[in-house]
């Protein structure tokens, strides 16, 4: 589903060129629950930006669902992000002026879905993450765990092929973090959502079926469970309307 081949990314700042990624090879299959671990400065975020189609590799290829994305135009990347990628951020990144409902609707808005249809779908998905009672609340009126549930709902509403979570529990207390992690695990197990979690927390990584470490711009596979076999038909299974 996702294949990185020899991906390098370097940044030029004046005369200095910093190589952040030095040839990353990675293959993610549909239904994977994968963690990418590494110390700060190791290139975690850069890798996530490339996988999330926010950044392009300096060299090497990145194939999403068999399609080379490095040659795509900005608009095409935006559309692909909108339809195939769901983001969950450490800082939640909900828009403070919008209600939970409106925040969840956003990806559908940029897809051109009409407002009533978007609100109906958002209502369903908020119910599945246990936020049905809080749809009209603004992010400022929600707890950290609730915010992250809304953020997950927003990431899921578009029916993405891949859910990218950057330190999803980083801003949460232990109890809430556990709740959020079990929600992600359930999404993966019961709905077959492919999830990549970027984290520096070993306990989070331990809950993933595949664990990858990034070190000095290269990837090392640490754990590969066989307990989570790839199910080829999962990709086409709808999330909305399914059991979470």
């Amino acid at each position: 589903m996702l294949k990185l081949d020899g991906v390098c990314r370097s940044y030029r700042l004046g005369p200095v060129t910093t190589k952040v990624l030095r040839g990353v090879n990675l293959e993610v299959s549909s239904g994977d629950l994968m963690s990418i671990m590494g110390p700060s400065g190791s290139g975690k975020t850069t890798l996530m930006n490339i996988i999330g189609l926010l950044d392009r590799p300096s060299s090497g290829s990145c194939l999403l669902e068999g399609r080379d994305v490095s040659s795509l135009k900005d608009d095409e990347l935006s559309t692909l992000r909108n339809r195939r990628i769901g983001f969950v951020f450490q800082a939640f990144h909900l828009l403070p002026q919008l209600s939970a409902m409106e925040n969840v609707c956003l990806p559908l808005v940029y897809r051109g879905t009409t407002r009533p249809a978007a609100r109906r779908q958002a209502g369903e998905i908020l119910e599945r993450v246990g936020m049905a009672q809080r749809t009209g609340h603004r992010p400022g009126q929600l707890s950290g765990g609730q915010k992250q549930r809304v953020a997950i709902a927003r990431a899921l509403i578009g029916g993405p092929a891949l859910l990218l979570a950057d330190e999803p529990t980083g801003a949460l207390d232990v109890e809430t973090a556990t709740e959020v992690m079990s929600l992600l695990q359930r999404l993966n197990e019961e709905n077959g959502v492919t999830i990549i979690i970027i984290t520096h927390d070993p306990s989070v990584a331990a809950q993933c079926t595949r664990q990858v470490r990034i070190h000095e711009g290269r990837l090392v596979e640490v754990v590969q469970h066989s307990a989570s076999p790839v199910q080829p038909d999962l990709e086409s299974r709808p999330i909305v309307g399914g059991q979470l």
Partner: protein
């Protein structure tokens, strides 16, 4: 269509953003409002001034041809008979009123009243210059060489103050010559639309033949003529010029038509109006720069938001349209308020100056149109900047 839900959502977001940042919105609004209202007020006032000037010019009629005697080798200028025959001789001229002007000291009952102008005229002068008669009669064709006079409003006042009662039928002394008052004029509103001033209020009008008799050296200084209806004013002027030069080859005449003057005035008013709209335009540009400034701040403050939207799949054009809609909304609202303010100011000014109030719909349309254009123009750079923001930097919050 994909675009409508996006635009609708962008519109809601833009309105929300304007509502949340009250002070900033207010400042932008005031800037545009002042710009638009000054465009509308200045252009409207320009148009009102033009209308008023035109009214002034036209009060005497648009068919006037004014001939001035500018001297020449022929000291006596045009003969009275020739001047009076002007209308009969030329089909393009309907009426002609010559005038011999001098100054005199007026006395009444042995007391000096004051000084003023003495106009030697014929019957036609009253109708051509629209002198308002209050009582008595005007100078007639039968008054040849008679010592009759028609006095201006102010002269009549002076006579009353000297205890004369009703001036009609009384004797007034002009430079030691006695005249019988046969008519009294009402207050005369001077028209500035002509190269000749009548000054009727401080004047005494006497038969032109009498004037020539008293002072044989004084030439006819002005002939006010009226062209026949439907005649081109240039043709009338040419005819008059040919006629006068054939009668008095040594004289130099200056011929001006009312239409010429009106055209000249209109040209000046156009320049004036252009100048006023330029001044208004400058304030609108300043307002636009204010909006641009506000939008740039708005974009800078919302970098994270823009990055989130981009991550969720907003294309550059979606972001651009969101901010463009915001700035156009701001300037359009300022435009509507500015229109109201501008029209109110115009009304107030025309009310206190006593001018007629008229709404220049051209300026209203122009003001509103320009306001939206200002929003588009000055909103474009900030919107473009927003669309070009790097989502990665925004998401990392730096």
């Amino acid at each position: 269509m994909r675009i409508f839900p996006i635009l609708a959502s962008n519109g809601r977001e833009a309105a929300g953003s304007l509502r949340r940042n009250r002070l900033r919105t207010l400042l932008g609004l005031v800037g545009v409002m002042i710009g638009v209202s000054s465009v509308i007020a200045l252009v409207s006032l320009g148009e009102i001034a033009r209308y008023e000037a035109r009214k002034q010019f036209e009060s005497l009629g648009t068919d006037l041809v004014v001939i001035r005697y500018n001297g020449g080798s022929d000291v006596e200028g045009i003969a009275i008979e020739d001047a009076l025959r002007l209308a009969d001789s030329l089909p393009s001229i309907a009426e002609a009123a010559p005038r011999i002007t001098g100054r005199g000291t007026f006395r009444f009952g042995g007391k000096e009243l004051g000084q003023g102008s003495v106009n030697g005229i014929a019957r036609s002068f009253a109708s051509v210059s629209k002198l308002p008669l209050r009582e008595g009669r005007f100078i007639s064709d039968l008054d040849i060489n008679q010592y009759f006079c028609v006095i201006g409003h102010q002269i009549a006042e002076w006579m009353r103050m000297e205890g004369g009662g009703d001036p009609l039928g009384r004797l007034v002394e002009i430079d030691e010559v006695l005249f019988t008052v046969v008519g009294v004029l009402d207050h005369y509103e001077e028209s500035y639309g002509l190269p000749v001033q009548i000054g009727a209020n401080e004047s005494i009008f006497i038969p032109i033949t009498t004037a020539r008799r008293i002072n044989s050296n004084e030439p006819i200084d002005v002939i006010i003529a009226v062209s026949t209806p439907g005649t081109d004013h240039k043709v009338a002027a040419d005819d008059v010029s040919t006629y006068l030069h054939s009668r008095s080859p040594g004289s130099d005449f200056g011929i001006t038509t009312a239409k010429e003057l009106i055209a000249q005035m209109e040209r000046q008013m156009e320049i004036f109006a252009l100048l006023l709209s330029a001044v208004g335009g400058i304030s609108l540009v300043v307002g636009g720069i204010g909006v641009m400034n506000i939008m740039l701040v708005s974009v800078a403050e919302r970098r994270v938001e823009i990055a989130i939207r981009r991550a969720l799949g907003a294309r550059r054009r979606d972001i651009r349209s969101q901010f463009l809609i915001e700035s156009i909304m701001l300037t359009s609202a300022g435009g509507v308020l500015g229109t109201v303010l501008g029209l109110t100011a115009t009304w107030a000014i025309s009310h206190f100056t006593g001018w007629g109030f008229l709404i220049s719909w051209f300026s209203v349309a122009g003001g509103l149109g320009t306001a939206a254009t200002v929003g588009l123009f000055f909103g474009f750079q900030p919107a473009h900047q927003a669309a070009r923001l790097d989502p990665i930097a925004g998401l990392q919050g730096n």
